[in-house]
C-alpha cells in the first residue's frame, strides 16, 4: 500500500471517528470533544503566529477571552449569534494587529513579556470592569445558536457545530499556509534579515501573523461562550495562554496538524488519565515533561525526523549500490 493511500485511509478513519464516536459518549464526553475542537482552533491561531511566523505570544488565552466576552455580552443584550461572532473576529483581529507592533521592536523573551503583560491586562478588565463584564459574577442567559432552522442546542448538535467550525478553520488555515503568505511567514521565522532583502515586507507580515492568529483565538472564544453558556474571567487567566502554548509545542510547532494533536494531549489526555484518580494530573505533568525532553520539536517533529532519516538511509543505500555497480565495471 502506498504512503498516500495509507495517509488517506488514516484520515478517513480519524474523520469517521470524530463524526461517529461522540454518539457513544455521555454529555460530559461530548463536552470534552467540543472543547477539544474549540481549543484546536485557538491553538491553530497560535501555531500561525508562533509556529509559522516565529513570533512568541503568551496572549492567545486573552484573545479566546475577548471572543467569548464579545459574544456573551452581545448575545445577552439580545443580538443573535452570527453578528457577535463576526464582531468578535473583527475585534480580535484589530487588537491582535495592535499587539503586533511591539513585535516590530522586540523579539523572543522580551516579546513574550510584552504579550504576558497584555494577557494580564485583559484579565484585569474582565474581572474589574463590572459595568461591562459583570466581573466575577460572569455573564449568563444566552443560548446556543441555530442556523437555517437547524438548532444546535443539544450537546451532540453543538458538538457537530464546533466540528463544522473546526473544518472551516482548518480549510482556511491550510489555504493560508500554502499561499505565498505562508511562505513569507516561514521566511519571517527562519531569517527576517534575508526575507527583508528579498523584498518581503516583514513589518506587514508580522502584524498580519499576529492579527490572523488572534482572530482565530477570538473565533475559538466565540464558540466557547455558547458551549459553556456562562462566561466569567476564571478560564482566561495566563494559564490558558500557557496551556495553548504547550499544545502548539507538544503537537509540533509549525506543523499543520500539530495543534490537533497538541489539543488532544492538552484537553483529552487528562480525561483519559482520570482512572488514576488523584494522581491523574501528576501523571499528565510527568508525561508532558518527558515528551518535551525527548522531543523538543513536538510529536510531529519526531515523525518528520524519522521520515528524513529513512530518506537519508535510502539515498546512502542508492549511492552505495551505484558505486558497487561502478566497481564491477
Amino acid at each position: 500500500m502506498s504512503r498516500s493511500v495509507l495517509l488517506k485511509t488514516f484520515g478517513v478513519l480519524i474523520v469517521g471517528a470524530l463524526i461517529f464516536l461522540p454518539l457513544t459518549l455521555n454529555r460530559y464526553g461530548i463536552y470534552i470533544m467540543s472543547l477539544w475542537a474549540i481549543m484546536t482552533i485557538a491553538a491553530m491561531g497560535l501555531n500561525l503566529t508562533l509556529g509559522y511566523a516565529g513570533q512568541v505570544s503568551l496572549a492567545q488565552g486573552a484573545f479566546v477571552g475577548l471572543g467569548a466576552y464579545t459574544v456573551a455580552i452581545m448575545m445577552s443584550a439580545g443580538f443573535g449569534f452570527w453578528l457577535p461572532l463576526l464582531i468578535a473576529i473583527v475585534i480580535t483581529f484589530a487588537v491582535g494587529w495592535l499587539l503586533g507592533y511591539p513585535a516590530l521592536r522586540v523579539q523572543h523573551h522580551y516579546l513574550a513579556f510584552v504579550t504576558l503583560a497584555f494577557s494580564t491586562l485583559v484579565f484585569l478588565v474582565f474581572r474589574n470592569e463590572e459595568w461591562l463584564t459583570k466581573g466575577i459574577y460572569g455573564i449568563m442567559g444566552f443560548k446556543r445558536p441555530s442556523a437555517f432552522g437547524v438548532s444546535f442546542q443539544k450537546p451532540i448538535e453543538f458538538y457537530y457545530f464546533t466540528l463544522g467550525a473546526l473544518a472551516l478553520a482548518s480549510a482556511f488555515m491550510a489555504w493560508l499556509v500554502r499561499s505565498p503568505w505562508g511562505r513569507a511567514f516561514v521566511a519571517l521565522r527562519e531569517n527576517p534579515v534575508r526575507a527583508l532583502s528579498l523584498g518581503v515586507d516583514t513589518r506587514r507580515y508580522t502584524l498580519m501573523a499576529f492579527a490572523i492568529g488572534s482572530a482565530m483565538g477570538g473565533f475559538s472564544g466565540a464558540l466557547y461562550a455558547p458551549l459553556v453558556e456562562f462566561v466569567d474571567p476564571t478560564p482566561f487567566t495566563l494559564a490558558l495562554s500557557l496551556n495553548l502554548l504547550m499544545m502548539v509545542i507538544v503537537g509540533g510547532s509549525g506543523f499543520f496538524f500539530g495543534p490537533f494533536l497538541g489539543a488532544a494531549i492538552g484537553v483529552l489526555l487528562p480525561e483519559w488519565l482520570r482512572f488514576a484518580h488523584g494522581w491523574y494530573l501528576t501523571i499528565y505533568a510527568l508525561f508532558v515533561m518527558i515528551l518535551l525532553i525527548k522531543t523538543p520539536t513536538g510529536i510531529l517533529g519526531i515523525i518528520e525526523n524519522m521520515i528524513a532519516a529513512r530518506k537519508t538511509r535510502a539515498a546512502s543505500a542508492a549511492r552505495a549500490a551505484a558505486s558497487a555497480g561502478l566497481d564491477k565495471v
Binding site: L176, V186, L198, V200
Partner: protein, 248 residues
C-alpha cells in the same frame, strides 16, 4: 558610453567614536562587474549595508537612476531592482530549493493582497525551474535547503538574488568557504549572468584571484577610505594598494 546605474556619494558611517566607512564615493555602470576589495575590517560590508538600507549612513547619499534612495528599507531597495547576497549563508533551511527561489521572487508579483488570492507559487515555478537549471541545481529542486552542502547553498543564495530579475546584484564574499570546483562553477555562472542577461554586479571579495578574473573595475578600501580605483591591472600595480595589503 555605459550609463551610470548607481552613484555612491561620500558615504560615512560612524559607530560611536569609530568611523567604519569614511566618505567613500564611486559609481556603478550598467552591465559592469565592479569589485570592492580591502583588508579585513576596512568597512566593505558596512558600506554594503549602508547602500542597501540595512544601516542608515551617518552622512552621504546613494543615488539610483538619479533618485535619492539613501536609507530606503532593504525590501524597498529590492523592489527597485537592487538585490544582494550575504557574507554568511542566508537561505531558508526548512523550505525546498524551489520554494526558496519562489519566495525570492514572489514579493515582486502584484500586491500583498492579490498574492494571497493568486496562485500558490505566485506563477513563479517556471522561472524557478529555469533558475534551478541555470545554476545546475536540478537534482536538488525538491530537497530542503538546510540539507544542501555549503557550496550548493552558496549557489542557491546567488540564484535567489536573481529571481526577481534585478538590475543590480551586490554579492558579499561569494567565494568565501567554497571549494575550488564549486568556485569555478559559481564564477562561470556569474559571468554568464553578466554576458547573457546583462546583469550588473558589485562584488565584495577577499579572494584576489577571483576578483581580478571576474571584475572589470575594482575599488580598493583601507581603514574605511577609498584608496584606489581602476582596472584590475591598474589596481594591482598601485603602490597604495600594495602598502595596504602588505604593510609599510
Amino acid at each position: 558610453m555605459t550609463r551610470t546605474l548607481m552613484e555612491v556619494q561620500g558615504i560615512r558611517k560612524k559607530f560611536g567614536g569609530i568611523t567604519a566607512v569614511d566618505g567613500v564615493s564611486f559609481e556603478v555602470r550598467e552591465g559592469e562587474i565592479l569589485g570592492i576589495i580591502g583588508p579585513n575590517g576596512c568597512g566593505k560590508s558596512t558600506l554594503f549595508n549602508c547602500i542597501l538600507g540595512q544601516l542608515p549612513p551617518t552622512e552621504g547619499k546613494v543615488m539610483l537612476d538619479g533618485d535619492d534612495v539613501t536609507g530606503l528599507r532593504p525590501s524597498a531597495m529590492n523592489r527597485r531592482g537592487v538585490s544582494r547576497t550575504f557574507q554568511l549563508l542566508q537561505v531558508f533551511p526548512q523550505l525546498s530549493v524551489r520554494e526558496n527561489l519562489v519566495l525570492a521572487g514572489q514579493e515582486h508579483k502584484g500586491t500583498m493582497f492579490t498574492r494571497l488570492f493568486g496562485p500558490r507559487d505566485a506563477g513563479l515555478t517556471p522561472d524557478a525551474n529555469q533558475m534551478i537549471e541555470f545554476f545546475r541545481l536540478g537534482h536538488l529542486a525538491e530537497e530542503k535547503a538546510g540539507g544542501l552542502s555549503y557550496g550548493q547553498q552558496k549557489l542557491l543564495d546567488a540564484a535567489m538574488a536573481f529571481m526577481a530579475g534585478p538590475r543590480m546584484v551586490l554579492l558579499d564574499e561569494p567565494a568565501g568557504g567554497v571549494n575550488l570546483t564549486m568556485l569555478g562553477h559559481l564564477e562561470e555562472r556569474l559571468r554568464a549572468m553578466n554576458t547573457e542577461r546583462g546583469a550588473t554586479f558589485v562584488v565584495i571579495e577577499h579572494n584576489m584571484d577571483f576578483v581580478m578574473r571576474l571584475c572589470t573595475r575594482v575599488v580598493v578600501l583601507a581603514e574605511g577610505k577609498k584608496i584606489a580605483e581602476g582596472t584590475p591591472a591598474e589596481v594591482r600595480a598601485n603602490q597604495a594598494v600594495i602598502d595596504a595589503y602588505l604593510g609599510h
